[in-house]
Amino acid sequence: MTPCLDIYALSIGYSKKQILFEDITLQLLCGKITGILGPNGIGKSTLLKTIAGLLPPLKGSVIPQGLPHDRDLCAFVPAQPWRAANFSVEDTVSTGRYRYTNWLGLENPLGKQIIAGVLEKTGIAHLAGRNSADLSDGEFHRVAIARALVQDTPLILLDEPTAFLDIANKQATVLLLKKLAVEENKGILFSTHDLSLAMQHCDLFWIMTPDKKMFFGTPAEMNRQKIIDRLY
């Protein structure tokens, strides 16, 4: 069970005056799918963005483990990714390979192969040439996941990936994430309010309770210790 990432004594929030959550010490595992649960406003998105490097940690640190220095730690998929109109799905996904493409953002043959493979894996190969503005929310969410996947990071963070999807798409998205964790040994960390879906599919839970405590463990353990009940 290799760790992707150590979080040590981390305080998160948008400014020092307004600390949302303090003293988080945790480890994130590769090849596992971890769900963050907690009430609205507790700091789930803030935690994800701090790990992703989009927000600076107010205290403490996020330490990548076993990461080659020329690679990024994680890719981040926001709850409602912005779409660019008149941008093909293929081109949208290709922007994820920013590090690897040439100065104009053009792909070499290997890059094209990688993109085709990821489109296949995420089940959107048939959409490759489509205008991303014309896709449904579920379809575009897969594009955003594909875009995160081509970044080739050991870790993928997703902010409420199931929030705006219908039941079928929720299942499909979580199963896709599970496949990525198992088949590609990626660490997957996502926030969600969908308890039953999380119970069903997550390997591990991080639970942020309203009294600002952080718990972690398998869904079964969390259930046994009645920590899930603290959410309500």
Binding site: P78, S88, T95, Y98, R99
Partner: protein, 334 residues
């Protein structure tokens, strides 16, 4: 890109711009003036000293304003953004107002015309640069592009207010010089000044091409750009640099020319059906050149002695296009 007819249109328009003008020149005369020196002296002079520099100026101005507008629209994710949205035009205008009306106060109003021309361009450029430096300084503190957009509009309004104040206290002759500058013209850019403008615009266009890769990410949001490890503030400053070089130089030498910068990127998106900046930036450049040269031909009113201000013609051409785009797509999409 299967729009090979567009370069042909551009070539046709360039030819039209050389062949049509206030003075009626015969076709064989023009051809011989272009190919050698055996035509009548005045035809040669009109073509080489007036029409060709004017055509090149229009070409550069059109490409620059359109490419600049496309970048601004992407950076601010706002379909109404144009080259002047950050207050570049009113900065330039304020510089020119200071120069024109200041020199008349100091009794320098009757200096040689090359001095007036050069001073106008230099002060316009400095005004544009000053505004851009304020924006860059502010962009370190303001995280969001939307806040910057509002700041730019505020600076623009402040500039216009100051210009109004200066106008109120200035003499009639100086006022006329200033108003003529605001109407825009391609006819005054020849020789060395054209060379300077060309160097500035081509540098700006070059930087814009380097920006293409980052623009393709920025259109999907600053957060996404950050998550890819892009230093957004550096990219933003590079885009501002290109914008100031492009819009600032065109404004300095040709006056504030509106609507090309806002309209052409929308036409390019509609025509090419592709907002990837690898298509949008070169597409905007070539369509901007077409539009500007067409505006120049119309403003010369071939066969008549009078000349319309380029700014007015560009606006009258640009506005219907924007309205058409809005009605065709029901909305302007980015």
């Amino acid at each position: 890109m299967k729009k090979l007819w567009i370069p042909f249109v551009l070539i046709l328009l360039i030819a039209g711009d050389l062949f049509l003008g206030s003075v009626n020149l015969s076709f064989p005369d023009i051809i011989s003036a272009l190919t050698g020196y055996d035509s009548t002296d005045y035809v040669y002079k009109i073509i080489w000293n007036f029409r060709i520099p004017k055509m090149i100026t229009a070409l550069l101005a059109g490409m620059s304003l359109a490419v600049c507008g496309a970048q601004m629209q992407t950076l601010f994710r706002n379909p109404l953004a144009d080259p002047y949205v950050l207050g570049i035009s009113s900065g330039a205008g304020l510089g020119v107002a200071f120069f024109v009306m200041g020199s008349s106060w100091l009794g320098l109003g009757n200096g040689p015309s090359w001095l007036t021309n050069l001073g106008t361009a230099a002060f316009a450029w400095m005004g544009a640069l000053a505004v851009m430096l304020i924006i860059v300084a502010a962009s370190k503190r303001l995280k969001s592009n939307m806040t910057l957009l509002i700041l730019g509009i505020m600076i623009g309004s402040a500039g216009s207010a100051l210009i109004g104040l200066i106008q109120y206290f200035s003499e009639a002759a100086a006022l006329k010089t200033y108003v003529l500058w605001t109407m825009g013209s391609f006819g005054n850019v020849t020789g060395n000044r054209l060379a300077v403008m060309a160097v500035l615009c081509l540098t700006g266009l070059g930087i814009s091409f380097i920006n293409i890769k980052d623009l393709n990410v920025l259109i999907m949001g600053e957060e996404y750009a950050k998550s890819l490890g892009i230093q957004v503030s550096r990219v933003r400053n590079r885009i501002f640099l290109a914008t100031t070089l492009l819009a600032g130089s065109v404004t300095a030498f040709c006056g504030p020319i509106g609507f090309i910068g806002i309209a052409v990127p929308h036409i390019a998106r509609m025509l090419f059906n592709n907002a990837n900046h690898r298509v949008l930036i070169p597409g905007s450049a070539i369509l901007g050149a077409c539009m500007m040269i067409l505006a120049d031909i119309i403003s010369q009113m071939p066969g008549s002695q009078s000349v319309l201000p380029v700014n007015t013609v560009a606006a009258l051409m640009g506005i219907p296009v924007i309205i058409y785009v809005i009605f065709k797509n029901r909305a302007v999409k980015l």
